[in-house]
């Protein structure tokens, strides 16, 4: 079993650099302002190729979550959670929820970004924004 690995295309490198600085940025279309995730050379909305790397707010809500009960990577012993987060800027990112976990459904819970060291990289994670009052 091996460790998890990043996909590091030409367009992914600045994303990982921004997470290293704990200021995650995504390419934003200069024409229609749509954010691109994964980062890429062209806007899927308007097909403009112009963009600027723009820091995101780090705010979002949980769209869905799972708990792994099987180990696939050396660096991810089970059990562990994975969440899909709808960023305030629009895209969905896949991440991990750290810290307190909600009682009941996690869906629609507001979260905010945090960063953690994992192997030789710094990557995003999310934590619950409001205290859990649903228990």
């Amino acid at each position: 079993m091996a460790n998890s690995q990043r996909v590091l295309s030409l367009y992914d490198l600045p994303l990982w650099d921004s997470m290293e600085r704990q200021k995650m940025a995504l390419p934003r279309c200069s024409h229609c302002e749509r954010f691109r995730y994964p980062p890429g050379p062209i806007c899927a909305e308007c097909n403009s190729m112009d963009y600027e790397w723009t820091e995101i707010s780090g705010e979002g809500t949980i769209l869905s979550w799972v708990v792994f009960h099987r180990q696939y990577f050396e660096d991810f012993p089970q059990p562990y959670n994975v969440i899909a987060v709808r960023l305030a800027e629009g895209p969905i990112v896949v991440s991990n929820l750290v810290g307190e976990e909600p009682q009941g459904s996690w869906i629609d819970r507001p979260v905010s970004i945090t960063y953690r060291r994992h192997l030789d990289r710094t990557q995003h994670a999310f934590k619950l924004k409001a205290p859990d009052t649903n228990s």
Binding site: M1, A2, N3, S4, Q5, R6, V7, Y37, P38, A44, L63, S64, W65, V66, V67, F68, H69, R70, Y72, F73, D75, F76, Y80, V82, A84, P91, I92, V93, V94, S95, N96, S105, I107, H118, R121, Q123
Partner: protein, 388 residues
């Protein structure tokens, strides 16, 4: 949009073949390696040709599955053809129909073999299959997110909450398909299970249980598809293709947008319009469904997406109306990928043909006149309507 661009009943299945899946599986589990993918493909081809009752010289088109190389299969089988290529099960049938419709070929052999079990192919982890074709399979690995099962688990969690489907209702899929498998001598998993067994089984990626996941086994499948007129002349029991079509969702695929917001259903609605129009048929005309089931979730998605039940009522539909040979609308009548054999959509095609020929033995659907095959892997929807 031109919905019925390709005429209905242009092509017919005239031959089907497979390897002996339970025997293959027993040998692999005993540590033997009876064949590689080419050997399984070759054995299935010979069986399909014999089933069709035609000679190899009649074949003028060849399409091979994704795990084998086109030229090498043609070389092994001694097939010099005027048209050929490589595709997955559903696109192989579609491409064969297109080749026949355009006059590029008249009799096409579709040949698949896979040694995924004996070759220890991984569908999750650092060497996960499919990453070169589907970026979503590998892109989220830094967060531990891997395996196609996990992609469906993430989709299932949101779908279950939004559409009101319980784990016990999803269990109906695994239970129904195991019942079908119990009546199928070629199925690998034949011991019936209950909803309680399902709920007591371990989670792999929660909320999906062990019984929501497909098998991994070796084997082969082949079909012979011929131009409809030729099929009548040379085939012993041709099964015409009444409708076939495709609609793909690509936008936002890696960030899982089509999975998590619309559950693939816009693609299913689009392709449903296309194939039902082409066939001049509707969901109520279907006597059985064959649904690509790498995971159980595909079944409720398709039942809703194609209009077999109302949106938001699929849990109730599966539980009360039923989706098994015992009750309701039979789905995956051979046991599917969950209980029969993981032949990546190929086993569903030959099961549809057997049902329409009336050759399905103990699992025969009475008076089976139309069968709808659907796949929606990664939001790429394909439908085929087989009939009399």
């Amino acid at each position: 949009m031109r919905l019925a661009g390709m005429a209905a009943k242009t092509a017919s299945v005239i031959g089907i073949g497979q390897t002996d899946w339970p025997a293959d599986h027993a040998r692999v589990r005993a540590g033997q390696k009876p064949h590689d993918s080419y050997g399984y493909a070759a054995e299935a081809f010979v069986a399909a040709l014999a089933d069709a009752g035609i000679s190899r010289a009649d074949v003028d088109g060849l399409i091979v599955g994704p795990t084998v190389a086109y030229e090498r299969v043609g070389e092994l089988l001694g097939l010099d053809v005027r048209w050929g290529g490589q595709a997955d099960a559903m696109l192989a049938v579609l491409e064969a129909c297109m080749a026949i419709h355009s006059g590029q070929a008249e009799v096409v052999a579709l040949v698949y073999g896979n040694d995924q079990r004996s070759a220890a192919v991984n569908y999750g982890g650092a060497d996960a299959q499919g990453g070169s074709a589907f970026l979503s399979y590998i892109y989220h690995a830094p967060w531990g997110f891997t395996s196609q099962g996990a992609l469906y688990a993430l989709m299932a969690r949101r779908y279950m909450q939004e559409r009101g489907m319980s784990e016990a209702e999803l269990a109906e899929v695994a239970v129904a398909q195991r019942l079908a498998a119990s009546r199928n001598p070629q199925a690998l998993m034949r011991k019936p299970i209950t909803v309680e067994d399902y709920l007591a089984s371990p989670y792999i990626c929660e909320p999906l249980h062990l019984f929501d996941y497909c098998l991994i086994n070796d084997g082969g499948v082949a079909l012979i598809i011929a131009e409809a007129g030729k099929a009548k002349r040379i085939g012993r029991a041709p099964v015409p293709i009444h409708g076939i079509g495709r609609h793909d969702l690509n936008t936002g695929a890696t960030s899982l947008e089509p999975r998590l917001t619309d559950f693939y259903q816009p693609a299913q609605r689009a392709v449903g319009d296309q194939v039902f129009t082409m066939a001049s048929l509707g969901p109520s005309d279907m006597d059985a469904l064959q649904i690509y089931d790498s995971f159980s979730l595909h079944i409720p998605l398709a039942l809703e997406g194609y209009g077999y039940c109302k949106t938001g009522e699929v849990g109730k539909f599966m539980r009360e109306h039923g989706i098994s040979l015992a009750k309701g609308l039979p789905v995956n009548t051979g046991g599917g990928h969950l209980s029969e054999s993981y032949m990546q959509g190929w086993n569903h095609q030959i099961e549809a043909v057997r049902q329409l020929r009336g050759e399905a033995g103990e699992r025969q659907v009475p008076d089976c006149r139309h069968v709808h095959y659907s796949s929606d892997v990664a939001g790429k929807a394909v439908s085929i309507i087989y009939g009399h």
